[in-house]
Each structure stands twice: as structure tokens, then as C-alpha cells.
């Protein structure tokens, strides 16, 4: 920047006027203040600039007020129109004024967050499973989980004879998650079962009742359950967005 020996306009041209302005407003940390003080003490123009800026700030604060040109009080007609106008008046008549308060904002944000989180939990794992990329391993022993529906994570039934329905999945996506279906080779982690290394088929899949050869009889899968999580998430998300929209409209 400069040193104490620099004098004259040529030296001043290289000085930082913003630093001087901050110095004049006493708006510097100690290190920059020392730099600015050195400038002001060594450069006449900087000293003059700092003094002028203080004078301008003082004169600005003392500017006289301008007389208002008219009276701004509200007439009863204006007040009635303002009270009744638009969505705000409609909402107030319905007792929905709380939507514009912090309670309404918090509720809207909470519902939206819950809805998005629910959708994330309910839909994304299904998408990942159907794409075959990131489905979690679901084979424990010889158990077979319900591979149908959207592929949402379901609790696994453990034990070699517990088999959930797999037929729906077989017809829906037979080639996608085949290794986890009962038709593919099963890994017998216990090494005990007679069919440990045999592929299952629909006909031979063990099920509720034992057949003559000792294997379990196949029973068709139960009707798919409605996805309550998805439904609730959509309701929460819609409610949250609607609250935000009402707040936005009523603020206009």
C-alpha cells in the first residue's frame, strides 16, 4: 500500500478509499485500523477524505424532514375494503387466520417434510430393487421373501420352510431379481437340507402344507396389500404444499 514517507496526489492514487471510508466509520478490526491510521497520518488526501466522510455522515443525519403532502389516515370505506378484500378476508371469515402465523408455517413445513420423507422411504427402495442394482440381500437360509409388489423392504421370514408367495413376482419380473426368488439356486448356509442346492420351482416350492415327498405345497400369494405409507406420504405432502400456497396467497 504505502508507507509514512509517501506524500502527494500521486501516492494517494494508490491508496484504498474504501479502507479510509471504513476507518472514518470506525468499522475496522485492529490490524486494518493500524494500516488505515498509517495512511491517514502519512497522506494528506486520505486524511481529508476521512474528515469529509465524517462530515457528510453528520450532515446526512441532520437533513431536515420533508413535509408530507397529504394525510394518510384511512377512511371507513378504505378500511372496510381492506378488511374484506381477497383471500385474506375469506380465510379470516373461515377462521383460518392461524395459517399465516408461525404455527401454520411450522405445520406446512412439517407436513411437506414428512410427505417427502415418506415418499423417499416408500418409493426409492422399490425403484432400486426393480432396477436390480441395490436390492438388499434377502435370502436367509432357505427362506424366500415376498418378492412381489413394488419391492419395498419387507421383514424376512427365517427358517428353511418359511416361504412367502413368489408367484406374482415371477410373472411380473422373472428375470430381474431371479437370484433372490425361490426358482434360482439357493445357498444353504446351514448345509443341512436335502434340496439345498436344488433350484425351486413354483410347483415344488415349499409352502404351507407338506406334500407326500415331504416338500411343502405351493399356495398362491395373498392379494397385495395397499401401500399405506405411500398414501399417507402423498396426503401429507399435498397438505403441506396446500398450506404453503394458502399462506402465499393470503400474504399478497
Amino acid at each position: 500500500m504505502t508507507n509514512r514517507t509517501e506524500r502527494g496526489p500521486a501516492a494517494h492514487a494508490g491508496h484504498d478509499p474504501l479502507l479510509i471510508a471504513q476507518y472514518a466509520a470506525d468499522d475496522l478490526d485492529p490490524r486494518d485500523r493500524a494500516t488505515a491510521e498509517a495512511l491517514v497520518n502519512s497522506c494528506t488526501e486520505c486524511a481529508e477524505l476521512a474528515s469529509d466522510l465524517r462530515l457528510i455522515a453528520r450532515a446526512t443525519a441532520a437533513l431536515p424532514e420533508t413535509a408530507r403532502p397529504r394525510d394518510f389516515t384511512l377512511s371507513p370505506e378504505q378500511a372496510a375494503r381492506l378488511r374484506r378484500s381477497g383471500w385474506r378476508g375469506f380465510g379470516q371469515r373461515l377462521g383460518l387466520g392461524w395459517i399465516r402465523t408461525d404455527v401454520g408455517r411450522t405445520l406446512a413445513a412439517g407436513l411437506t417434510t414428512l410427505g417427502l420423507a415418506g415418499l423417499l422411504i416408500g418409493v426409492v427402495p422399490g425403484q432400486l430393487a426393480s432396477s436390480g442394482g441395490a436390492a438388499p440381500p434377502q435370502t436367509v437360509g432357505k427362506s424366500v421373501d415376498n418378492a412381489g409388489g413394488g419391492g419395498a423392504a419387507q421383514p424376512l421370514a427365517t427358517g428353511r420352510d418359511q416361504v412367502a408367495s413368489a408367484g406374482a413376482a415371477a410373472s411380473a419380473a422373472p428375470s430381474v431379481a431371479a437370484p433372490e426368488y425361490p426358482y434360482g439356486p439357493q445357498v444353504d448356509t446351514t448345509g443341512e437340507g436335502p434340496h439345498a442346492s436344488e433350484p425351486y420351482s413354483v410347483e415344488s416350492a415349499p409352502s404351507g402344507a407338506p406334500m407326500a415327498d415331504g416338500r411343502m405345497q405351493y399356495t398362491p400369494p395373498p392379494a397385495s396389500q395397499p401401500n399405506y405409507l405411500l398414501f399417507a406420504s402423498l396426503v401429507a405432502l399435498t397438505g403441506g404444499v396446500a398450506l404453503f400456497a394458502v399462506r402465499r396467497i393470503s400474504a399478497g
Binding site: A59, L63, T66, T73
Partner: protein, 219 residues
Amino acid sequence: MLDSASLRIAVRRDPQTVEDLRSTTVSDDPVQRRDLILLERARSGDLDAFNDLVTCYQDHLYALVVRMVPDRDQAADAVQEAFFSAYRNLESFRGGSVRSWLSRICVNAAMDAQRARKRRPAYPYPELDDESWQPPAGEDADPVRTTLGAERSRVLADAMTRITNDQRTAIVLFDIEGYDYAEIADMTGVSLGTVKSRIHRGRLALRGMLEDRMELFRG
């Protein structure tokens, strides 16, 4: 004397904390207590109570807005719109200073007017010929001092109209209204650093315009 310059500076030096501004407890300040009573009555539908608030603050708020929006007609419209907005939003008052609440609404209205003005520029600054910019002179006032003061105010007000809207808003709120940096940042929706930069650069711009007239300020 609530509007005196000395009080404004005192307010700036000891700004209210956020807790103070949000407080809903009964104030010891009689003015504040009066304002809260009027506001509560206005909330219950008493138009006269609201108009009492308007009467209390319309001079101050117009003076604030007309410095941010130098066109007097646009400034008056902005103030009227601000009072409309305040009346519509009585329920949104969260406690604290009624004056600050109204000022914030007016600052928002003024910034809206600035944006509208940028889109549709009008003939600039008819108020420069207005006598009201001159400070009131007492009977025993020194005519030379009075004339100098009037000329100083005139050239400064003229220069103020030629800096940017953002710089003018920041300077008016800081130097004239006495808000601190954080409050201005909150009111204008920018960072603390931006507020400081606008104030300092605005003053530098004023000084650049007034360089040849600085003897008016030094005298």
C-alpha cells in the same frame, strides 16, 4: 423530540437486541405502551385507534420514504400503500416496537417503489425546488448560518438522489433512521458485509459528487 437526531444516534449506538424486538412483555416506555394499546384496539376493529397510529407516525415515515424514493408523489403512494398493508396485516405484529414494525413495512414499500421507478422512470426529483428541504430558521438565527445550512442540505439531498437506490437506502436507514448494520441487513434482505459496503461506497460516491462543495460542510 422522539425524532431528534441525537436520539437516533443514541438508538444506533445501543441497538435493541433481537430478544428485545421480539418481546411481547409490557414495555416501560410510555410511547411503546401507547402504541401497543392502540394496536390492540385496532386489531379488535377500532379504525380510530389505527388512525391514531397513522397520525403519530405518518410524518416520520413519509420523511423516511421520501429519502429513499425521491419522487414525492411516488413516496406518498408508497407510504399510503404501507399503511394499507399494515392495516391488512395487523395480526402479523409479533410484539416489540410498533414504530420499527411500521418502519419495516414502509421500507419494503419504498423498495417496491424503487423497483417500479427503475422500470418506469419519471421526471426526477421535483422536491429539489421544494422549500421544505430547508431547515426551519428561528427568529434569532444567524442568516448566514441559515443560508449555509439550507444550501448544504440542498446539495446533499441532490447528491443523495444520484447515488444508487441500494446505497441510498442503506445510508438513510443507518445515518438518518439510526438502525444498526444487522437490522438493515434484516430489513433489506442482504448480508451484513453488503450493508457495510453499500454505506461506505455510498458515502464515497457522495463525497465524489460534493468534492467541490465541501466548504459548505466544513464551515
